[in-house]
């Protein structure tokens, strides 16, 4: 129905109007967007690839060349172009971060909804598993897991292992949050009304619980992305990345293991560090602003009227 399409556009434009007012949110969106664009259009942004070796006029590899000798960001110990490494690395870091983030949000939300909605034994089980996972420190556990799975020599790419381990271990806080929200939503009267017209559990979850949770889920996905990217960087820095597909964390690992610091090659370790900060800061800024915006208490009241109407603001009343 074209009506639905119009409604969607209306909601979108209202969202944008509210979002636009928030500078921090815009900054966050900008940070994420630039990183995404750089990753997507990497081939257009550099003539080199991540494995090309830069050579001087004599054909010798340009190692540890500073940005002054080789633009824009110099080269590493083997003569790779840092800028190329950085934007191709963005593909890996963002892909691992996004996929892991989505998996953890998906698992967390599903378990949270099921636990909160059905309660009883299911709830107890999910909450006990959450408790256990929560007391075990994340990073050491993931380290051990990734290392062990790698050892087992299964036919899975190291990146998939990374994605799955982060995604399947990092859902606990989301599950708790979603569960507690579900508990309050299911007591609301429109859920009772849905039951009173004969709706089943699946219908109620899909049409009544999930739409109320959606803002929370979106916000937390954005926030969890930053964590997933940081964890990926951490694990890769510790040498658990895929050396043939270097992410930003892997770059840092290389920089440290190949004595970039003692060589004073700041252009080797600074860019990936800044890139990690760039994206995770972007996610946190955007996530916080979304959280604030999607707070249902802040949504418009019918008395506010159409957008054309002039609301009496504090300034006008002088209060």
């Amino acid at each position: 129905m074209s009506d639905h399409w119009k409604l969607f556009l209306r909601n979108l434009s209202e969202f944008w109007k509210a979002f636009r007012r928030n500078k921090l949110g815009l900054v966050g969106g900008f940070l994420i967007l630039t990183a995404l664009l750089a990753a997507i259009f990497a081939p257009a942004l550099t003539p080199h690839s991540a494995v090309d070796i830069m050579r001087d006029s004599n054909g010798r590899a340009l190692t540890f060349a500073s940005p002054a000798t080789h633009s824009p960001l110099g080269t590493d110990d083997a003569g790779h172009d840092i800028w190329a490494l950085l934007i191709y690395g963005a593909r890996i870091s963002l892909m691992v971060g996004f996929l892991a983030g989505f998996i953890s949000m998906f698992v967390g939300s599903s378990l949270g909804i099921i636990a909160g909605y059905f309660g009883g034994a299911v709830d107890t089980l999910v909450m006990r598993v959450t408790d256990i996972l929560m007391v075990i420190p994340d990073l050491p556990l993931m380290l051990v897991l990734v290392a062990t799975i790698r050892q087992m020599d299964l036919k899975v790419s190291p990146l998939s292992v990374l994605i799955l381990v982060i995604g399947l271990l990092y859902w606990t806080s989301a599950a708790r949050l979603i569960r507690s929200q579900t508990l309050t939503i299911k007591e609301r009267q429109f859920v009772a009304r849905a039951r009173a017209i004969g709706a089943g559990h699946w219908h109620i979850i899909r049409k009544h619980i999930l739409p109320q949770l959606m803002p929370l889920i979106v916000t937390n996905t954005v926030l969890i992305l930053s964590t997933a990217i940081l964890i990926e960087s951490g694990l890769a820095f510790l040498g658990l990345g895929d050396p043939t597909q270097p992410s930003w964390g892997t770059m840092l690992n290389f920089a440290f293991s190949r004595s970039a610091i003692s060589n004073g090659a700041w252009w080797f370790y600074l860019p990936p560090g800044i890139a990690i900060l760039w994206v995770s800061l972007g996610c946190i800024l955007l996530g916080n602003v979304l959280e604030e915006m999607m707070n249902p208490r802040l949504t418009a009241h019918y008395l506010e009227g159409d957008k054309g109407m002039i609301a009496i603001t504090d300034k006008e009343t002088g209060l």
């Binding site: 639905h4 009267q189 429109f190 009772a192 009304r193 849905a194 017209i197 004969g198 739409p211 109320q212």
Partner: protein
Amino acid sequence: MTPNPILEARELHTYFLVPQSPFEALMRRPHLSVKAVDGVSFALMRGETLAIVGESGCGKTTIARTLIGLEAKTKGEILFDGKEVALRDGQTAIGLKHLRQRAQMIFQDPYESLNPRATIFDIVAEPLVVHGLAKGERERTAAVTTALEDAGLRPAEHYFMRYPYELSGGQRQRVVIASALVLQPELLIADEPVSMLDVSIRAEILNLLRDLRQKRGISVIFITHDLSTVAYFADRIAVMYLGRIVEIGLTREVLRDPQHPYTKALLSVAPAPNPRLRRKRVILQGETPNPINLPSGCRFHPRCPVAFDQCKIKDPQLTVLSETHQAACLLLEK
């Protein structure tokens, strides 16, 4: 009016367990329960409107929720159209899902009973979706349009793509009514449908409900704590006190000639349309006892202005006063 009732409650009880602290559980204290509905029986005829009145906390909402299966009954029977309400359809049973197609409930709070993230169209169409009726888009749109216009929201298309927060309380309650009508139910259970609304809108909504009832011949259970709307609306009245019906009868009989002291007290403080008919005010003493520790004997005796010794001991049953009028008071049991 066919003689068989559309809805019948027999000795209906709904108790809520009071949660125990671990200490109490350890001490093996007996589980306390809130006796929200404590032995209610009545029959609602086809096309009839029965008002259930009583003060806050007497169990009106709990009865409504129990009738539609939102609360599990502790004891007793509910019969819809002669069949016992059960989880699934059977030879002599009607399943909950089926019941919820033929009986609809209107909740007290129109601000809370609409999903804030659903459009009005989706809200009104939802019962059709749930029961797999009017599957085609054109059919569905037609059904929703009729329901909205019958509920007084015209032109219906104007409301389709709106959200509840864009509507006023009265308009929301009309949406609730529309979504209750869309399945063409035989029974409507309205739990204080106007108590949350502005006084100026109440009459409108009540008129709407009355017109719909007359036009469609729906049977109605109308729950209210406001006696002044009852005369206007109901064929019969059931007066509740602490989970029991203490008096039930034709509206005219109960209002003109109340027999139970509680009904008398309620009526004496209700605003009368004709001041000359005003009775002497009876102000009830004391608080409503809580439904966990019910008073012994007659549950009304601690507040009753005419209580005597027997009242502390004997629990009165409904006494037949006329073919259409019953009350539960020891003074009448002679």
